[in-house]
């Protein structure tokens, strides 16, 4: 296993109660691998109860990037959230902790 952080960097933005996280491959050649494993469902599962609404994903292969839109992720909205990090600025670093299969590892034996 490896962490997403080894393959990608990320930045969080906020609008109301929606957090958006761009995940960008250090090496554009890893984009397909990231697109396969860093799915909307995987991101939703990673954040668990923190994100109350759906997670959408937009693909930008030309930039080697995936853009995630997390609804209901900011405690009711930046202006009224009780969270220490009301903007969710730190969510990008949390997402980079996601575990991925090692791309160098041979496929598991049948």
């Amino acid at each position: 296993m490896m962490r997403l952080r080894e393959l990608a960097h990320a930045r969080t933005g906020d609008k109301g109660d929606i957090s958006s996280i761009a995940v960008i491959a250090y090496d554009p050649g890893d984009f397909a691998f990231l697109a396969e494993h860093v799915t909307s469902a995987a991101v939703a599962a990673h954040f668990g109860a923190t994100v109350r609404g759906p997670v959408e994903r937009y693909e930008l292969p030309g930039l080697g990037a995936l853009n995630f839109v997390l609804h209901g992720a900011l405690g009711g909205g930046v202006t009224r959230s009780l969270a220490l990090d009301a903007h969710g600025k730190s969510l990008s670093s949390c997402l980079l902790e996601m575990e991925l299969p090692d791309p160098q590892a041979p496929p598991a034996a049948p």
Binding site: R5, H9, A10, R11, G13, D14, K15, G16, D17, I18, S20, A22, I24, Y26, H46, F47, G48, A49, T50, E56, Y58, L60, G62, L63, G64, A65, N67, V69, G75, G77, V78, T79, R80, L82, A83, L84, D85, K89, S90, L91, C94, E97
Partner: protein, 446 residues
């Protein structure tokens, strides 16, 4: 080919002041734009204006103008900013006072108003974007401000009238940067692709240091040199809307493909539909290419016809929030922190403090993220944070008080207690037809 150089002097209200001075002195720029107005700021500014008719503009406006005018005016650099907040005319008057004191006569200063649409919002129920089942009626008399995000029109008009400084209230952030491009290149306001490309430029510049290495550094993975002297960005924009992002040579930070990609997608939802008052910008085919040290070339932006609707931010009195914190250290710190939280929870019940929402965190363990692994390791120190939402300030104050009483009534070794209580001004949004909004420009000459 004609190139327009635009600098970004601030990415938020409290941003550093001297990078703008550096841009004016050494950036070879013709325009210096300052984006200083966050979503909630204008609601707070509106309250300040109600208390004092001459107040309600950005608290750092005077300091920024005093620092920047001496280097921008002699070079003919024009300034565009939304530091007018809830009172652009008073901000223009203050700027004129500063210019006169500095000995700059004959400066033309424009104030853009018309974004205040409180009367329009109050006159009818408007559907809330965040709560599709509710309208503004649900907020009743708690609404304190309503400001529409204006486009470039009035700023372009002021530039065409030879304004040296343009001060706005609420406008779309990228519009501060798009307006000088529309003015310089004479693009038609239905030239959607050019407006889309201008949006890309504005979007990349509007957060200032976030594209030159700020909000980016991660030692060992993304190293950035000299962040204490971070240079703010400038764009060299060509008539086709393509641009190169760079910064003053020798300033701190770095402009890279990585920093530009992060900022391109910052706060974007669907990259193919980035809604602006003047255009729906499409970032999906944008290409970035290295163009030398600290230079990234941007191309491929597109646009589609604007919707004809303007987003309106509505500020309202939401609730009160109280908070208290206290720290524990050494062996068993986490257990004592958790005991402290349980004590405060029980005290709030025993003493009848009513909260509609209560949040209890251990800072350093689970305050920022509660996922797999958080709380599994024993920290060397642990700081609890209890925060709750109440209907009154008096009750909010009691939350912090209950945390503080852990000093003498709680677990062993609690230190460094702090507490606060405040009213929360919430912000919701709606859409109104652009025809209902009339931007206006007024001028004064020093």
């Amino acid at each position: 080919m004609k190139t327009v150089r635009i600098g970004s002097g601030a990415g938020y209200s409290g941003d550093r002041i001297e990078p703008a001075v550096e841009l004016a002195e050494h950036g070879g720029i013709s325009y210096l734009c300052f984006e200083c107005l966050a979503e909630r700021t204008i609601a707070l500014a509106q309250q300040a204006r109600l208390a004092d008719p001459d107040a309600g503009y950005d608290p750092l406006l005077s300091a920024r103008m005093q620092a920047v005018l001496p280097v921008s005016v002699p070079r003919g650099i024009r300034i565009i900013t939304n530091m007018g907040a809830a009172n652009p005319r008073a901000a223009a008057a203050e700027t004129a006072r500063i210019a006169r004191r500095l000995g700059f006569g004959g400066l033309k200063i424009a104030a853009i108003t018309g974004d205040d649409v409180l009367d329009i919002i109050a006159a009818a129920p408007w559907k809330l974007m965040e709560r599709p089942d509710e309208t503004t009626l649900a907020l009743g008399d708690r609404i304190i401000s309503a400001n529409a995000y204006l486009g470039v029109e009035a700023i372009v008009q002021a530039l065409a009238a030879d304004a040296d400084i343009v001060i706005t209230g609420r406008v779309a952030d990228p519009a501060l940067f798009m307006a000088p491009l529309v003015h310089e290149f004479g693009w038609d306001m239905e030239d959607w692709d050019s407006l889309g490309r201008a949006t890309v430029v504005g979007h990349l510049l509007e957060c200032a240091g976030q594209i030159t290495g700020g909000y980016f550094a991660d030692p060992g993975y993304k190293d950035v040199a000299d962040l204490a002297r971070l240079g703010f960005p400038l764009a060299e924009v060509r008539a086709d809307g393509s641009a190169t992002i760079t910064k003053v040579a020798g300033s701190g930070g770095a402009v890279s493909l990585r920093s530009c990609t992060e900022q391109l997608l910052y706060e974007v939802h669907d990259p193919a539909r980035y809604y602006q008052p003047d255009v729906i910008a499409d970032f999906s085919a944008v290409r970035l290419a290295g163009d030398g040290p600290d230079r990234v070339a941007i191309s491929g932006g597109r646009g589609a016809a604007r919707t004809g609707m303007l987003k309106v931010s509505i500020g309202y009195r939401d609730s009160f929030v109280g908070e208290g914190q206290i720290s524990y250290a050494g062996a068993g710190a986490l257990a004592r922190a958790r005991l402290g939280i349980e004590i405060v929870r029980e005290r709030l019940l025993l003493t009848g403090v009513r909260t509609s929402e209560l949040r209890c965190d251990v800072i350093g363990v689970d305050a920022l993220h509660r996922g797999p692994g958080t709380g599994a390791m024993e920290p060397a120190e642990a700081r609890i944070r209890v925060t709750g939402r109440t209907d009154s300030l008096a009750e909010a104050v009691r939350i912090g008080n209950e945390v503080e009483t852990l000093y003498t009534n709680g677990p062993a070794g609690g230190g460094g207690a702090s507490k606060s209580a405040r009213e929360v001004i919430g912000v919701v949004s709606t859409l109104i037809p652009e025809a209902k909004v009339t931007p206006r420009v007024s001028y004064q000459v020093t």
